[in-house]
């Protein structure tokens, strides 16, 4: 047994348990959290680049799970996110007072564990087909969660996600036909720059861009994320899009670094820049709080893509790589915190518009504080993990003379300040204290804990860079790996 297996297997077992023991959700969650936390710590303590072949079927037939820096950071942030969101969701999706189950309450928990297991598989696996399965598990859970808010948005999400999956699967089939393996590490050794490989890379990338909601393929995200119940939105925005992103990393920097053209990286970088600008403009224009937060996700995903050309040409240090990875986990924590806080505030005032937040800072100071701290990280202001990420990326951009990328990083941060301070200003407006329903302490604590985590990771910059870099030395493209060392 290895924690790598268990990190995938335990959530799936819990999913089945949740299906069978619907009314015991509380106990299941209280078991899941310490177990998953223990496994995550175990994962973080594994020696650098540990890998494990599932079921003793060796490569190229078997499926390999591997703990590199990216996987460690993502799985760790995922565990923190899922645990806290789960505790928050207990209230919303718990059995009724007479221990009867509600439809949503019954449906949510299996999906929740499915998402957890699927995401962990997506972060840990190095097998492209296995990654496809992970992607499908996550998408399935995500679509169903979105359907709890708006069936229409979920349907749209479903159709688009299906297209993305098929495109990805097509690429996997092409690769298997060509190389008789779909393991990332083996592909890296064999990769030939022929048409089939390039086609496969192109269609898989397109599919993943849909899954990660990268501009201009982001259209499904805002309605789906804005309509879902708060814990579901938090999971969708924080985690689901990151799975597509991590697979994209595996593909571009691990399997085919030798054959990706600089032009291709440039295109991804441009898409990222456009996503930052477009998402921010849209977020500024929103009048509804959850739509604003959803568009902010579109913008923040853009930074991850913006980093692609910077990572590929990284000179001198692995700063860009670390910046990109840290940005992914910073966004995970901060966005989950923000959706949970937004959910609490909107529920308290029974509205959805920014102006409904009037004066809330006096009525629910802790929730507004959580929103504000999450906003600090999203804006990339110190002290926060978001700042560390933004700073590392900015430094890499300036060192490489990528003036445009540097400008987007700075302008994007300012635009984030514009759209995030706007709701905060509403919470300060007026001098009366609105009367709102009291929120359970646990639910108030959840977004605050996530936001504090996002902020306090800003003091652990060095440690995060070390973990992220342990990945780069293991397997970045040769030209880059030399520089990294």
């Amino acid at each position: 047994m290895s924690p790598l297996d268990l990190l995938v297997a335990v959530p799936l077992a819990l999913m089945i348990a949740a299906l069978l023991l619907g009314t015991w959700v509380r106990w299941l969650l209280l078991t899941a959290i310490p177990v998953m936390a223990g496994l995550t710590v175990w994962l973080l303590l594994l020696p650098e680049g540990s890998a494990h072949v599932v079921g003793d079927w060796n490569l190229p037939l078997g499926v390999q799970l591997r703990a590199d820096g990216v996987a460690q950071l993502m799985v760790g942030a995922m565990a923190a996110c899922a645990s806290i969101v789960g505790l928050y969701a207990l209230h919303e999706f718990a059995p009724g007072p007479d221990r009867s189950e509600t439809a949503h309450g019954y449906a949510f928990w299996p999906l929740f564990y499915l998402l957890w297991g699927g995401a962990n598989a997506g972060f840990l696996s190095t097998d492209l087909f296995n990654l496809y399965i992970a992607l499908e598990m996550v998408s399935l859970a995500a679509v169903a969660m979105a359907a709890m808010g708006s069936l229409r948005a979920a349907l749209r999400y479903f159709v688009i996600a299906l297209v993305g999956s098929l495109a990805y699967l097509l690429g996997v089939a092409l690769l298997f036909a060509n190389y008789a393996t779909v393991d990332v590490t083996l592909l890296a050794e064999m990769a030939r720059p022929d048409l089939a490989t390039k086609t496969a890379l192109a269609v898989m990338t397109a599919g993943l861009l849909i899954k990660a909601a990268v501009f201009p393929l982001h259209g499904w995200l805002p309605p789906a994320h804005a309509a879902a119940p708060a814990p579901a939105s938090a999971l969708l925005s924080a985690i689901v899009v990151k799975v597509g992103f991590v697979i994209l990393l595996r593909l571009w920097f691990e399997a085919f670094p030798a054959i990706v053209a600089p032009a291709g990286l440039e295109v991804l970088g441009w898409l990222g820049a456009l996503a930052v600008l477009y998402g921010s403009v849209q977020a500024i224009r929103q009048d509804s709080l959850k739509a604003l937060v959803a568009y902010s996700t579109v913008a923040q995903i853009g930074y991850l893509l913006l980093a692609f050309p910077l990572v590929a040409t990284a000179a001198g240090s692995g700063g860009a790589w670390a910046g990109m990875t840290i940005h992914a986990i910073a966004h995970m924590l901060a966005k989950a915190a923000m959706f949970l806080a937004a959910g609490l505030m909107l529920k308290a005032v029974n509205g959805h518009r920014l102006k409904d937040l009037h004066g809330l800072a006096r009525a629910m100071p802790l929730t507004v504080a959580a929103f504000g701290l999450a906003a600090v990280s999203l804006m990339g202001l110190p002290p926060s993990a978001g700042f560390i990420a933004k700073f590392l990326l900015l430094e890499a951009a300036v060192e490489q003379g990528a003036v445009f990328a540097a400008a987007v990083l700075i302008v994007g941060g300012l635009m984030a300040a514009v759209y995030l301070f706007n709701p905060l200003a509403w919470t300060f407006a007026g001098s009366d204290t609105p009367v709102v329903e009291a929120t359970a302490p646990l639910r108030t604590a959840a977004p605050l804990a996530l936001a504090l985590l996002a902020v306090s990771l800003g003091f652990a910059g060095q440690a995060m860079v070390d973990v992220a870099a342990s990945a780069t030395s293991a397997r970045l493209p040769a030209a880059v790996a030399v520089d990294v060392r």
Binding site: I388, F391, E395, L414, A417
Partner: protein, 492 residues
Amino acid sequence: MIHFLPLLLVFLPFVPALISFALPDRMAVWRDVTNISFALIKLGLVGFLLLAAREGVITEWRYEFLPGHDFILRADSIALLFVTLSAFLWLITTVFAIGYFGRGPHLARFFGFFNLCVLAATGVAMSGTTITFFLFYELLTLATWPLVVHRGDEKSLRAGRIYLIYTLAGSAAYLAGIVWLSSLVGRVEFTAPPDLSGIPRLELTLIFILCIGGLGVKAALIPFHGWLPEAMAAPAPVSALLHAVAVVKAGAFGILRIIYDVFGIETVSDLGLATPLAMLAGATILYGSFRALMQNDIKKRLAYSTVSQVSYIILGASLIGPFAIIGALVHLVHQGIMKITLFMCAGTLANRMGIKSVTDLDGAGRAMPVTMAAFSIGALGMIGIPPTAGFISKWYLGLGGLQSDARWVIAVLAGSSLLNALYFLPLLYRAYLLPPPEGRLPVRELDGTWNRMLVLPAALTGLTVLAAGLFATFPLSPLSWAVLIAERGYLK
């Protein structure tokens, strides 16, 4: 142990911040006690460091927070100048704020963020690298915003918005500048200017403009001063400590650091950037005074006066000469105590008598003699009349101008003094010589603890303004400390 002192000093206000946030309004007494005692503890620590620094012991705390970037807090003599000022005024303003708000609602938030601002200002002062400086500079922006919008009315929210747009854009420019610079020369510490030879002049000039422009926003250099008069919508204690002292000084202090410790005076004069900056500062001095003359609202008048007075520091820094830098450093302190006196008096007048505009001031001297006396000392100091502190600043700045062959500085100083007289003396005239309006109720200025907490802090800083001028040559006076700094490193 002593290495932890800078860290302790910076993060000390975090404790009262948390306590203030946590205590409910009904336990406000404990909040007040906590705030005052921590301000006292901090002042004690500062005194200890000050004595150590006089003996030449510079304490420093560092850790590597990112690869290649150290987080450094250093209690060098110039840092302590600013820290001493902020620690002393923090104590004074805390007492004043308690008197000002009394037992009003939602003060937990106010005092919490107030402490965070002090934390950030101390951090700005003690930062040992450009990046560390940025961290605290940005934190200062974030912690001030809730104080600006504290009242929650339309005007405050607008002021908050304008404040953020200006300051966040400014710090973004500064960040771009320092990252650019460190990509060229590696890490930049404030101990000695890095070797900048071999870097194209154009690039250096652009970096300088980004840094100074970015910092100039908080220092309210024209054309970036627009936020300051708007921010007067904040409650008086905020205007007093933050806008007169912490925020604008953070900008001015950063400019000092950039000129002297990052670029070095030789490079700055080599690039031909010193004179334009001095002229911009001169223009700001005159422009601010002109605008102040036109304001009827007392706080707005004081705000424009701040725009003008802070640029004295920048003027002194950019004249590049021993007397000029002494003038700049000493004015950093003097402007702080004079302006805080004026703002606290303005706050008291508004709070107790409802006096907000210049025309309401008639007869106020008779109603609130102590407050008006303190106000008068502050105003005379601003004009630069001996023996107040303001005179010392202007004297050294003037000498500095002569020494650097910039005779126009004398004209600027004289013109500004004249304008200061024009916009302050009518206030004094109204307060002392005109009869009070009919029907004004008599005010008992010093009755009760609340009133005393409101009035006495201003009286104390007013006396300090006099003392800093009268005893300027005594050891540990602002002037002698400025001379010490100049002798130790800024007189190359």
